[in-house]
C-alpha cells in the first residue's frame, strides 16, 4: 500500500512526537516525585509516623522511582491519571470541566491576538519606519510589557469595584446563574445552542475581562513577526513583478506579500500556544477562572503529584500537537515546502 508522501510525513512526525512525549512524561514524573512537602502530611497533618508510613505504603509511595513510574505508565494506558489529593477526585474528572474553560479563554485570547496583531503588523510593514509603523510598534510593545496579573487587577478595580461595569470576577458564570447543560463545554456556545440568551450574555460578560487580558499578551509577538515577515516579503522580486504587471497595490500586498509571510506567521502562532498555558495560569488565578492553569498552579504549590504530572503531560501534548499542525499547514501554504516534504 503506497501512501501519499504527505501522509507518510505526518505519520512520521506523529511517531517522533510520541517518543518525545514519553520522554517528557518520565521527566515530569521525576520532577513531581522530587517535589517537597509530603502529600500525605499535607492532607492529614495530625497523624502519627506509623500511620503515615502505612498510608504511604498503601499509596505505593515507598516504592523506588522506576517502579512508581512503571505503575504510573500502566495507569496512563488504562486511562487513569491518578487522583488529586487536593480535590479528592480523579484527575480526569477534574480536567473534564477545566479544559474547556481554558480552551474558551485560549480561543478568545489567541483570536484577539490574531485579529489585532496581523493587521498591526501589515500596516507597520507597509509604512516601515514612518509614523504609523512607530505608532503600531509602540502599541504592540506596550501591550506585551503590561504584566497580565497587574492589568487584570487594575481592570477589576476600576471596572468592577469603582464603576460597576463589569460583573464580579467569580469565574465563568455569575452566582445567580445556573450552569447550562453541557453540550460542548463552552458556556457561551452551550447557552446559545439551548436558547438561553440570558445565560449566554452573562457568560460573555464574565469572559470579557479575562479574555482581554489573555489577548493582550498575544498581540505583540504576532504583530512583530507579521511586520518583519511582511517587510521581507515585500522586497521579493515577485512583488515587484506583480506591480509591473499592473496588479492593484492592495492585491499585491494583501494577496501575494501576505501569502509569502504566512509561513512565519503560522510558526509564531504555533509558538504562542505555549504562551497560552502560561497566560492562563495567571489570568485564571486573577479572575478565579476554573481552568487548567489555576488547577496546575494549585497543584504545583501544594505538591499534588498526580495533577502536576498530568498537567505537564497535557501541556506537552498540546505544544507538540500545535507544532505538528503548524508543520502540516506549511505544506498547504507553500508549494515549495510541499515538494520538500514529498521528497524526504
Amino acid at each position: 500500500m503506497r501512501l501519499s508522501p504527505i501522509v507518510t510525513y505526518i505519520l512520521r512526525r506523529i511517531l517522533i512526537s510520541g517518543l518525545v512525549l514519553v520522554g517528557i512524561s518520565f521527566i515530569a514524573f521525576t520532577i513531581s516525585y522530587l517535589l517537597p512537602s509530603d502529600p500525605v502530611t499535607s492532607r492529614y497533618p495530625d497523624i502519627t509516623p506509623e500511620q503515615r508510613e502505612e498510608i504511604r505504603r498503601q499509596m505505593g509511595l515507598d516504592q523506588p522511582l522506576p517502579v512508581q513510574y512503571a505503575r504510573y505508565i500502566q495507569s496512563v494506558f488504562r486511562g487513569e491519571f491518578g487522583v488529586s489529593y487536593n480535590t479528592g477526585n480523579m484527575v480526569i474528572d477534574d480536567l473534564k470541566d477545566r479544559i474547556p474553560a481554558t480552551l474558551e479563554l485560549a480561543f478568545w485570547g489567541l483570536g484577539m491576538g490574531i485579529i489585532l496583531g496581523i493587521p498591526t503588523g501589515i500596516i507597520s510593514a507597509v509604512h516601515r519606519n514612518k509614523f504609523w509603523d512607530n505608532a503600531m510598534r509602540l502599541i504592540s510593545i506596550g501591550s506585551q510589557s503590561i504584566p497580565g496579573f497587574w492589568i487584570g487587577v487594575v481592570l477589576i478595580f476600576f471596572l468592577y469595584f469603582q464603576w460597576h461595569i463589569a460583573p464580579m470576577p467569580v469565574g465563568r458564570l455569575g452566582m445567580s446563574f445556573s450552569t447550562p447543560e453541557t453540550v460542548t463545554g463552552f458556556l457561551v456556545l452551550d447557552s446559545i445552542l439551548l436558547g438561553n440568551w440570558e445565560t449566554a450574555l452573562a457568560a460573555l460578560k464574565q469572559l470579557a475581562m479575562p479574555a482581554f487580558v489573555m489577548g493582550l499578551g498575544m498581540i505583540a509577538p504576532i504583530a512583530r513577526i507579521t511586520r518583519s515577515a511582511m517587510s521581507e516579503s515585500l522586497q521579493e522580486d515577485y512583488i515587484i513583478f506583480g506591480r509591473a504587471l499592473g496588479l492593484p497595490e492592495r492585491k499585491v500586498v494583501l494577496g501575494d506579500a501576505f501569502r509569502g509571510s504566512l509561513v512565519s506567521i503560522v510558526t509564531v502562532i504555533g509558538f504562542s500556544v505555549g504562551g497560552i498555558f502560561a497566560g492562563s495560569a495567571i489570568v485564571e488565578t486573577v479572575f478565579a477562572w476554573p481552568g487548567l492553569g489555576r488547577y496546575a498552579v494549585t497543584a504545583i504549590t501544594t505538591s499534588d503529584m498526580a495533577p502536576v504530572n498530568t498537567c505537564i503531560l497535557l501541556i506537552a501534548t498540546g505544544v507538540a500537537l500545535a507544532n505538528l499542525l503548524v508543520d502540516i499547514s506549511y505544506a498547504f501554504i507553500d508549494p515549495r515546502i510541499r515538494d520538500e516534504y514529498a521528497r524526504s
Binding site: 518525545v20 517528557i24 520532577i31 513531581s32 522530587l34 517535589l35 517537597p36 512607530n134 510598534r137 509602540l138 510593545i141 506596550g142 506585551q144 510589557s145 503590561i146 504584566p147 497580565g148 496579573f149 497587574w150 492589568i151 487587577v153 487594575v154 477589576i156 478595580f157 469595584f161 512583530r224 518583519s228 522586497q235 515587484i240 504555533g270 509558538f271 500556544v273 505555549g274 504562551g275 497560552i276 498555558f277 502560561a278 495560569a281 495567571i282 488565578t285 486573577v286 496546575a296 498552579v297 504545583i300 504549590t301 505538591s303 502536576v308 498537567c311 505537564i312 501541556i315 506537552a316 505544544v319 507544532n323
Partner: protein, 290 residues
C-alpha cells in the same frame, strides 16, 4: 595600511551604535528611561526614607507627601518597598540572563563545534524547552528546589539558556568553515582563541537584542511567580508579591497597594522591550532594493 583599516573599523563601530539610536526615537526613549531606572535601582534603597520590612501602625494609608505610594496592611511604605524590590528584581534578572549567556554560549559553541549526534540531541532538547510555557516550567522547577531568591535565579538561568545557545551555535557553524581552514594553516594560534575573537564582535549585536528581551521577560517572570506564590517569599518585597497582597484590600478601596508596584513593573519591562525591539529593527538585515 592594515592599521588604517583597523582605525576605521573602530571608529565605525562607535559611530555605528550612535547612528543606530539616533534614527529611532523609540529605542532612544527606552535607553534614557532605562538608565534612570537602573540608577534608582542601584542607589534608591540606600536613600529611601523608610525601612521596607519594618512594620508600623500607619496601615493602609493612601498616597501622600509623607508616603509617596501609600502604606500597606503592615504599615510599610510602599514606595520604599517598590524601590528595594526594583533592586532585587534587577539583580535577579541580570544574574539570570548573564548566567544564561555564559552557559548558553558554551553549550552553543560546543554544539556548533562538535556537531553530529550531540548537536542533534541538544538542539531537540532546546527546541522543546523553548516551546514549553516558560512560566509553568519555572514554577515547577522552583518548587522542586524550594521557593526563594536562589531558586528563582537558577531557574531564570536555565530557561534563558536556549536562546543564547542557539545564537552562538549558528555563529559557530557559519564561522567553522571559514576559520577552520584559514586558522589551522596560517596563524598557528589555537583555534579556540580565533573562534572566540571572531565570535564575540559578530554576535554582540544580536546578543544585546536578545539580552534586552530576556531581561524584560525575566523581570516580568520573577514578579509573576511571586504573584502566584512560587517565587520570592514575604516579607522580602517584590513587585508581584505586593500586587498579590494588595488584591485583598481592593474591596476597601486601597488601590495604591496593587496599582503602584505593578505600574513601576510595567514601565521597567516596557523600557527593556523598547530598547530590544528598537535595536532589533535596526540590526535586521535591511535590504534596500536598488
Amino acid at each position: 595600511m592594515a592599521e588604517l583599516v583597523l582605525e576605521n573599523k573602530k571608529k565605525n563601530f562607535q559611530y555605528y551604535y550612535v547612528k543606530l539610536f539616533a534614527g529611532d526615537p523609540l529605542a532612544l526613549t527606552g535607553v534614557v528611561m532605562l538608565v534612570f531606572l537602573v540608577i534608582v535601582a542601584i542607589f534608591g534603597p540606600m536613600m529611601v526614607r523608610y525601612d521596607p520590612i519594618k512594620t508600623s501602625s500607619e496601615i493602609l494609608l493612601p498616597p501622600s507627601d509623607q508616603y509617596w505610594f501609600g502604606t500597606d496592611q503592615f504599615g510599610r511604605d510602599i514606595f520604599s518597598r517598590t524601590v528595594t524590590s526594583l533592586q532585587l528584581d534587577f539583580s535577579i534578572a541580570v544574574m539570570g540572563v548573564s548566567g544564561a549567556i555564559i552557559i548558553g554560549m558554551i553549550i552553543g559553541a560546543l554544539c556548533g563545534y562538535i556537531g553530529g549526534l550531540f548537536d542533534d540531541i541538544v538542539m531537540r532538547l532546546i527546541d522543546f524547552i523553548q516551546s514549553f510555557p516558560m512560566l509553568i516550567l519555572a514554577m515547577v522547577l522552583v518548587m522542586v528546589m524550594g521557593p526563594g531568591v536562589r531558586s528563582v535565579v537558577v531557574v531564570t538561568i536555565l530557561i534563558n539558556i536556549p536562546s543564547y545557545a542557539r545564537l552562538i551555535r549558528g555563529e559557530t557553524l557559519s564561522k567553522k568553515r571559514l576559520e577552520y581552514i584559514d586558522a589551522a594553516r596560517c596563524s598557528g594560534a589555537s583555534e579556540a582563541r580565533i573562534l572566540f575573537r571572531h565570535l564575540v564582535p559578530n554576535t554582540l549585536s544580536p546578543l544585546i537584542v536578545q539580552g534586552s528581551m530576556n531581561l524584560a521577560w525575566a523581570v516580568g517572570n520573577v514578579a509573576a511567580m511571586s504573584f502566584l506564590g512560587v517565587g520570592i517569599q514575604p516579607p522580602t518585597p517584590d513587585l508581584g508579591l505586593m500586587v498579590s497582597e494588595g488584591t485583598q484590600y481592593l474591596a476597601q478601596g486601597c488601590w495604591w497597594m496593587s496599582i503602584y508596584p505593578g505600574l513601576i513593573l510595567a514601565i521597567t519591562i516596557f523600557c527593556f522591550n523598547l530598547v530590544g525591539d528598537g535595536l532589533q529593527d535596526r540590526l535586521d538585515p535591511r535590504r534596500a532594493r536598488g
